[in-house]
Symmetry: C3
Subunit: 362 residues, 3 copies
């Protein structure tokens, strides 16, 4: 992952159409990499977003820093008043940093063409990369510049939009759709059967009868899906992942879920069947959402929290967690949980007794 | 996934050996797909299992509905008393629906024969499908009509029963056994080493000594295993998955577990080593079961619950969950948990004081 | 998995350099396998570590047992005082058992050489095994005797130390490093992009801007990584897994984490970004550790516990779990949790009232 080198002035020029920035100090400084304020070396650019880190400005070895115009006065000066640190002033330093990082570290693209070891049963654009050992079934439709890397399996009838990257070992089941500019990481499984069985038991005999899963997975544009994440196909309707959704690793999304646009879901989350998550939600790692619930847009769920009921009103944060304790303390406190209702009842009784005693006195 | 078309009468005829049904209304209506009452279009058949959805019968656009004979009176009639909706009456509408769905959406079978890119080091029946890039090691035994789809890896000495389907990218380690009619979804890993190490540390030095995992995984008939689920091989004895067990995605089953027949386990569940789960249990998503526990048959575990002790008596539901709250409420309530034992002690002291005061009065 | 056969005397001789043992009884007994005291058959050797299992010594069918010298008096004798059970006396019977098990069940090594179906774009030592369908990118460096089993994908520039085994279907992203004697199980994904996005939203529009993940994953020596476990590459710095770390299945380790030497992590654990776990920690299954926390060396975390704050002092066990209850009991007790702060307040009020009443009396 080698990085190219650009001057501050050139960086501002290159990014001006997506986010505005203004240089301070020596705009001709060559920058070849991003770094944090604390670990940066000369030739690297850092960013300051949280004011509590402004103390690191004085001692950073970075050649430049990205920060908000309101923080420009915190830039260190020499005794003679010369600026010691070049800067780019911008309204959203973290986003600007992300864009500079992408400029200096452009994604490595694989060469167009199909590796001779690939098995390709469809016609694909010549701009696509089809890696070693890839299998592409019949009636698959790929957009321009799609990369299907080593050993990925693309089932019959799958559609993938332009510029998407499918990493090694991804498996997409027949009939599913992936939008443009998607990134699917290794081990992701898209479109396996949802978990649907009807119980046909009586007395001792019987079996679970499998319900065919005839929906698809339909994934919007600009979606990233992490390693070993699985998204099941719908039972009847489709499972739908909205535009701009970002899914981390080891996530399970069950059949018929609908995930709204630009929602982010951290690792190890499980979402049960037919849940509907609004747009712009943030679901913390290892949270769980039960089936058939509706979560309003802009809801935040704390990590590790089990969501057992719908959240009709958005814009708030919800939590369901037992707080961490030393094990010895936990043993004592958790034991009381099993008689918490009794404890509440005893307090109520005490309150009545006190009231009676007070009444008796008067 | 195109569906064939059958008349109601033909459906009842085809299913009569597995479940009895009786038509009402026009038995010659052609049906080509299943759907829900609310989303069905003409030519589709829906089902009514839960009486609370009977209100949807009047407005459904379905051509027919599957329901219990006791609900037949709820079928809508025209003003002149003619039935407006054809029906199949049956004792278990949900199971009947599952079987109709399977009839109309037969599983897509891959053609028999081995793809030239497959590496097959064993003799396999000519009725089997061996997909592109598949690797089958030495001494593997496959039943008739087994499908090993693209890129699956079947280790030496593995045995797989007739009519099983192994989806792309599944990995089965040497020596493991899978029964007949199994479905293993992409990313499933069967038979990796169990997590067994002996601590050999003294003072600063030392290491974890790996304990060879010499058991197998032995999977019964009619088992379905979800995407990215892993089942470890036994340390000494085998890890055993009973007949008819259904495992969802992202499940971890550790070494030496025994899962009883027809137990269903939802996504993201973890079961630690040597746990024994009875038959016909239902384990909710993201539940966890500690090692060496025994769970009685017909036990239900709520989603997200940590099972820390054996459950000797079956037929009940168990739960271990902190309930969801707005984060601000949680902060206040959870803080009190850390002094719950003290609170209980204070209530006890109050009760003693009240008793003494009452005694003092008399 | 056939086992060789060795006499007790030969076992002690073979292991004497790594752990000392001394035979009791017939040292010429041939031993071909390890087993538990309860399930052992003749020709097998068991071990006794926990004194509470000494009762099984009398009835075991094992030919020999490994135990501590202090337990030698518990070995059964015939009525005439002859030892009925041969033994190996050693300071740490469990570790000795692990080493005997490894002696009798040596790991099956694959033959050196590259399978013709493998795509190898680097020069690799002739002592390495490169299995069917493997893809190895450019500039990869493998140590001697490395095994890359069927269908594993090794990205450009990866370095893997001597004697490591990469199981079928593992994916290692470009630039990552794995030490010597590693074992990576099927479905493990090493070096996928960390989950890093900067929010660029205003009003209705906007998007998450991907932050390039330019760090690597650097894995030490003697590390084992379980099936379907994922370890993300660092954002700027590397994600680091120390020597001797053992990771079970289905684990998620996010970008920039540092896991100290010899720490063991059980299945289904999630560790969020930039967390630092000390050496010799033990993290129970399905535990979660939030981002940017520091966990001191030798800390133990109970299974299923969410760690929400740093643990600065090691050597203790921490827990965060709601205890399991019958669902009906849970409904009553958990409901009270939502008003626990109010309950605490009511108790405080009662205490004040009592104090006033007592004061009023005197």
């Amino acid at each position: 992952m080698c990085a190219s080198s650009l001057t501050l002035a050139r960086i501002v020029e290159r990014l001006k159409t997506v986010c505005a920035g203004e240089t301070r100090g020596n705009a001709d400084l060559p920058i070849h990499q991003v770094a944090s304020l604390q670990s940066a070396r000369p030739g690297e650019i850092a960013f300051l977003s949280n004011p509590k880190y402004r103390k690191y400005l004085r001692d950073t070895r970075a050649s430049a820093v990205i920060l908000h115009p309101g923080m420009a006065s915190a830039l260190p000066l020499s005794p003679s008043g010369e600026p010691l640190l070049a800067a780019i002033l911008t309204a959203n330093p973290y986003v600007y940093y992300a864009r500079v990082a992408a400029l200096l570290n452009p994604a490595v693209r694989q060469a167009a063409g199909a590796h001779p070891s690939a098995v390709v049963e469809s016609t694909v654009p010549s701009s696509c990369h089809i890696g070693p050992g890839v299998w592409i079934g019949a009636d698959v439709s790929l957009g321009e510049n799609v990369e299907i890397r080593a050993h990925a399996c693309i089932g019959a009838g799958v559609v993938i939009g332009a510029d998407s990257v499918i990493h090694p070992g991804v498996s997409i089941y027949p009939g599913c759709r992936v939008g443009a500019r998607a990134i699917l990481h290794s081990g992701a499984v898209i479109g396996a059967d949802g978990f649907g069985f009807a119980p046909d038991f009586d007395g001792e005999g019987g079996e679970w009868v499998k319900i065919p899963q005839i929906g698809r997975v339909v994934i919007g544009d600009d979606v990233e899906i992490g390693a070993n994440t699985s998204i099941d196909r719908g039972a009847l309707e489709d499972t739908v992942i909205g535009d701009g959704v970002k899914l981390d690793n080891q996530i399970q999304i069950a059949h018929n879920c609908v995930i709204g646009e630009h929602t982010v879901i951290a690792g190890c989350v499980g979402i049960a069947g037919s849940a509907r998550i609004g747009h712009h939600c943030a679901i913390g790692g290892a949270a769980m959402i039960l089936g058939h619930l509706e979560i309003a847009p802009h809801t935040e769920i704390s990590p590790g929290s089990m969501v057992m009921k719908s959240i009709p009103q958005g814009g708030e944060k919800y939590t369901a967690l037992y707080p961490l304790e030393r094990h010895a303390d936990w043993l004592r406190n958790a034991a009381q949980l099993r008689s918490l209702e009794t404890l509440a009842q005893r307090v109520k009784t005490l309150e009545q007794q006190i009231r009676q005693m007070e009444a008796g006195k008067s």
